[in-house]
Symmetry: C2
Subunit: 103 residues, 2 copies
DNA sequence: ACCGTTCATCGTAATATTGCGATAAGTTTC
DNA sequence: GAAACTTATCGCAATATTACGATGAACGGT
């Protein structure tokens, strides 16, 4: 059916999957890496930095925003994108907790 | 088009995205958690543990195997699934490297 | 008021994912 | 060999994702 049976799994499992899905595309990985390297908020040079059209980049940014990984603040005429450190820590602890035992 | 422009991104970015995609579904998160909790190889109780049909579980297992996160060894009449510690370490270092600077 | 710049959204098309039942493939046991 | 058990694969349908061009919304400067 193509329907993810979200309701059948725990909130934690769904959240981990949501965070993973946000990074499940190389363009979104590239965006996050770009923001990390800049160590600052970036006022939308991302379209130039990526081999994708403006509308596609905007869609990927929306996906990252929905997952909470980045935030965007309007700074006319541009929009500044920042990594959300709180959610990155959540990401680290979620996956760290999973794998700390074995690795 | 729905085509991921894989060739436009670095090998590292594609690999990170591939690993993330493997955990981008709550069922696959549940499978990995189950294997972690068991701290051993599991001979296919997974279908009982998940609210999904046998064929669907088999598909998710295939996805995890393709990404290298688990391995399956035939132990007739069952198949034993194990976490691949090497790839879990790869996972940890890939994401740890990304986020260590900021968190 | 009119541009130009920047970004989001809409509409569309191609492809991928998710899920299940049915069926096939591989063993062991009888 | 036949039957039982376990897992993989096929075929299908519903939905999601990816990508782009075109258009729209918001703002600043002229």
């Amino acid at each position: 059916m193509g329907l993810s049976k979200t309701a059948s799994f725990s909130t934690e499992q769904n959240r981990i999957a949501e965070l993973a899905k946000a990074l499940a595309h190389p363009a979104r990985v590239a965006i996050v890496q770009y923001l990390l390297k800049a160590e600052a908020c970036i006022c939308g040079d991302l379209v130039d930095a990526l081999p994708l059209s403006q509308s596609t980049v905007s869609q990927h940014l929306k996906a990252l925003k929905t997952a909470g990984i980045i935030t965007g603040s309007v700074e006319p005429p541009k929009v500044c994108y920042c990594l959300n450190i709180t959610v990155l820590k959540e990401f680290n602890s979620a996956f760290g907790e999973m794998f700390s035992r074995c690795c």
